[in-house]
Subunit: 131 residues, 2 copies
DNA sequence: GTCCCTGCAAATCCTTTGCACTCCT
DNA sequence: AGGAGTGCAAAGGATTTGCAGGGAC
């Protein structure tokens, strides 16, 4: 097992993600962090994001719009994705009653994780369209 | 609006996907169809898969393993993905009770579609590991 | 004949990786 | 010093696209 060393870049990436309420892509995060560390490289951003995902400190969201998104909230929750603007919103839902039960058909273990995405047009986009 | 013309390639792609019970990637489907049409190109497979998705005749699954998968079943259902082998299984669950209700927070419309993925290790892989 | 569809290859987008160098411990 | 982390640029994988020729109607 590798020993983890401190890096100001990693701290900055984590801090930056936690400060946001949207779910930025690696590239969007890169752009934001460049304001503080103009020399940081995109490769470093990707490397650290993947590391943080492995550590369970952040979550990766693959919503199907090409680029992965990242989320500092790791407790189970769901997402609403606007088909118009691509914005990813957090959704909270009651615990998923019979899902673990259903999953016994496929695995003897627990479900490790899940990804739930709902697609539609968000209110914000509907307003813009109405104008 | 474009007029749709018949193409034997498109028919073959659709037929091939419908005949399968797994959820192949574009590349896997390409390999299968090549047996019947050795000259078909990967670009054509992608073009037609996207067209069929637009027509609502098939479904695209973005499970987060790099490549998109395709599914001939378009009725709402869920997926179990083995973290070990990447196999995608169909799952059926009762109708999602309060989900549309919850979604009113984000959209005034109905939810257009949703993607639900559960991750774990499938029984098949557990057996192999045990050997 | 017209316009859609194809095969091919090049281009694009997102992400990962190899390498020499730097920074933590 | 030792090894993890970085910046850079090149490589990689998946998907899209431009173009000239072929096929449907």
């Amino acid at each position: 097992m590798k020993t983890l060393k401190y890096s100001r870049q990693r701290e900055s990436i984590k801090a930056c993600l936690m400060a946001r309420h949207d779910h930025p892509t690696a590239d969007a995060l890169y752009a934001a962090i460049r304001q503080e560390y103009p020399n940081i490289s995109l490769g470093t951003v990707y490397r650290n994001l993947n590391l943080l995902v492995e550590l369970g400190e952040i979550q990766k969201l693959t919503c199907g719009d090409g680029a992965d998104h990242f989320d500092a909230v790791t407790t189970p929750h769901y997402h609403f994705i606007c088909k118009n603007c691509g914005q990813v919103y957090d959704m909270s839902l009651e615990t998923m009653n019979n899902i673990n039960q259903q999953a016994q058909k496929y695995t003897d273990n627990q479900i490790d994780s899940h990804m739930i995405y709902f697609y539609g047009t968000c209110k914000h986009c509907m307003q813009k369209k109405a104008q």
